[in-house]
């Protein structure tokens, strides 16, 4: 009979399924959120603010996957998968959802990379909040036409975005992680 060699710390089947189910949960929850985003964004005067107020929500799946799995790439894959699910469930952003998911995933992952993938706690999350706010904002400057906005508005938008990302992808993710650890079910 063939036997299994004690394998390297790669992606195990159960981690892949776990990550995917998390992503699907977020895809479904994003849809619930989508309603409030639409309500805000469909009011022309609020459109730019709606984007930056809610962006933190769309950035949660990645860091959460990261701190739960503590693996290189988990943040990126988690975020991209959540975007894929969102796109499949229907998103007005269509193919752009995937692109945004990728950009957001990379920018959140970078925070953990900066700690050398050693810190999956407050420091890693804080750095991840900073990198993702900066990079996604830069992306929007060049690719979503933010450069065309007046400077005063840009500063306001940046601050709103930092708060949104800090709360959802930072504090909220941290609180969820604490609860999961306390439940004792995360023995991986």
């Amino acid at each position: 009979m063939q036997t299994v060699q004690e394998h390297k710390r790669g992606w195990a089947l159960r981690d892949v399924i776990f990550l995917a189910i998390i992503a699907i949960f977020f895809g479904v929850i994003y849809q619930v959120w989508g309603a409030s985003y639409y309500a805000l964004a469909a009011i022309p005067a609020l459109k730019p603010f709606a984007n930056d107020m809610t962006i933190g929500v769309w950035l949660m799946a990645g860091p959460l996957a990261g701190v739960l799995l503590r693996k290189v790439g988990a943040t990126l894959i988690g975020e991209v998968l959540a975007a894929v699910v969102e796109m499949l469930l229907f998103s007005s952003w269509g193919a752009a959802t995937l692109l945004y998911g990728f950009v957001q995933g990379i920018s959140s992952e970078l925070g953990f990379t900066l700690t050398g993938y050693k810190n999956w706690d407050k420091i890693g999350l804080t750095l991840s909040v900073i990198t993702s706010t900066l990079i996604t904002f830069a992306w929007d400057l060049f690719n979503s036409g933010y450069l065309a906005y007046k400077p005063g508005l840009l500063i306001t938008l940046f601050i709103i975005r930092l708060i949104s990302v800090g709360f959802f992808a930072g504090i909220l993710v941290y609180l969820i992680k604490v609860l999961v650890e306390k439940s004792g079910l995360l023995k991986r």
């Binding site: 009979m1 063939q2 036997t3 299994v4 609860l179 079910l185 023995k187």
Partner: protein
């Protein structure tokens, strides 16, 4: 013929914790039918998973001995090599399938064991026919009933042609009819194909004719003992519950019609749920019992009228409705909203509709009655399945909604726990005048507690032994 031998095997879930399994030796005879019993939490699932080679890969540590498959340590054997020899069927029929339909699932398993491509289709067709599954070939597995899902799981094992079949409480969510059919299927496999069968179960009915050996796993010592087969024949007979419901109650429905998708589950029934009584709803898998409860708790839409004290339920908001009619879920962990047993109880005590009744003493008594005193500061998610089930029922009972709908509250409980839960429910509803309606496939030991029974069949609810009340 494959041999599987458990040799002086000991196992714990964490370093420094006690051995769940203690020095167990067990070698099922080839071609025999073995039943494994033991109280909830004694380690039956753990032992079976270890015998399937899934432990410690999926948790825990081996603290002594070993398990040999054809004389070789089972754990490092590649899964596809194991699956050809030992296969396992799990308690929860809902999450055993990777694919969407039965033929896809069976083919998936056959690809795993590297059966040549040209043989796969024939093998799939063959087992589909043998287990009478051809009618379900196109159907989404998710929409099959519990019993049907277990048949598909059995078909998958059969297709892989494993010699040894391990089944972990495969009937916990299966109705008596489907249970008989599955037991019959198993017997046929054992007798005509010489399969070795090891099965764990709480419900001993229907085994007397089948079983060659009976084993008991002791909860306190973690040891395995062989027991006399007479335990399987001296069972109390199961009787229909012919009592009558009281006429008065708050929750009622008229001409209720429930359907999912295209399919009608219930047409035009009328009933009032009587206060101070415990009613049982029985009926085969997939008939629509759980769906009826979802309609009554307003989680899905239904046509006809649901009423609360003659008032139309549509006029009552979801939040207010949740204060009147409560659902106790089939999956216990879905019910919990805090972290520890004590916190769960404290939350319910804060929110209870009967603060005078649920005094600290009474709660403590109930906790003792359910044998939960020792786990007050445990995390709810780390309790055994049986403990979770009991805690879930208790916290909802304390909440005190006037109508409690319990979906399989006794699944997986041992007889002592069943008695304790039912006694508590009965004494509480007598004092508080709450109404309880419960779905249960398990009927053993319920004779003293059930006030009336509604049978769900052919899209109707019929009162047992009664007039056309329902």
């Amino acid at each position: 013929m494959t041999t599987l031998a458990v040799k002086n095997f000991s196992f714990a879930y964490d370093t420094g914790q006690r051995n769940i399994l203690n020095n167990i030796s067990f070698s099922p005879v080839a071609g025999s039918f073995n039943l494994l019993i033991g109280p909830s939490g004694s380690g039956k699932s753990t032992l079976l998973k270890a015998m399937a080679g899934l432990m410690p890969k999926f948790g825990g540590i081996v603290t002594g001995g070993q398990i040999l498959l054809d004389g070789q340590d089972i754990q490092p054997v590649a899964p596809f090599e194991r699956a050809k020899r030992v296969a396992m069927l799990f308690q929860n029929p809902d999450r055993q399938f990777a694919m969407r339909t039965a033929p896809e699932q069976i083919a998936f398993a056959l690809e795993n064991i590297q059966l040549p491509a040209e043989q796969i289709q024939d093998r799939v067709a063959d087992v589909m026919t043998r287990l009478n599954l051809t009618a379900f070939a196109e159907q989404d597995l998710m929409t099959l009933s519990g019993g049907e899902k277990q048949r598909v799981a059995l078909a998958t094992i059969l297709a892989m042609d494993s010699d040894i079949i391990l089944l972990d409480e495969p009937f916990a969510n299966v109705d008596p009819q489907a249970r008989q059919t599955l037991l019959h299927d198993l017997q046929a496999l054992q007798q005509t194909q010489g399969k070795t069968i090891v099965i764990s179960d709480h419900d001993l009915s229907g085994y007397a004719e089948l079983v060659d050996n009976l084993y008991v796993l002791e909860a306190t010592t973690g040891t395995l003992q062989s027991a006399s087969l007479t335990r399987l024949t001296n069972l109390a007979p199961v009787v229909p519950f012919t009592g009558h419901p009281n006429p008065a109650g708050d929750l009622g429905w008229r001409q209720l019609h429930v359907s999912v998708g295209e399919r009608t589950l219930l047409t035009g029934t009328t009933f009032t749920v009587p206060s101070q009584q415990i009613g049982l709803i029985s009926g085969s898998n997939g008939i629509g019992k759980s769906t009826l409860f979802k309609a009554l708790t307003k989680q899905i839409a239904a046509t006809g009228t649901i009423t609360w004290a003659e008032q139309d339920a549509r006029k009552i908001k979801a939040k207010a409705w949740a204060k009147r009619v409560a659902l106790i879920f089939q999956t216990a962990t879905d019910q919990f909203v805090t972290m520890t047993v004590a916190e769960e109880l404290a939350l319910s005590q804060r929110q209870t509709a009967y603060p005078d009744f649920w005094t600290a003493e009474r709660v403590a008594d109930a906790v003792a009655q359910l044998n939960l005193t020792g786990v007050m500061d445990h995390i709810v998610y780390q309790l055994s399945g049986g403990q979770q089930k009991k805690l879930q029922t208790l916290v909802m009972l304390i909440m005190g909604q006037p109508v409690l709908l319990l979906d399989e509250p006794l699944a997986g409980l041992d007889q002592d726990s069943v008695q304790a839960v039912m006694t508590l429910l009965q004494s509480t509803v007598h004092a508080t005048q709450q109404a309880i309606l419960m779905i249960s496939h398990q009927r053993q030991g319920l004779a003293d507690f059930i006030d009336y029974e509604l049978v769900f069949a052919e899209q109707q609810l019929r009162l047992v032994g009664g007039a056309t009340h329902a």
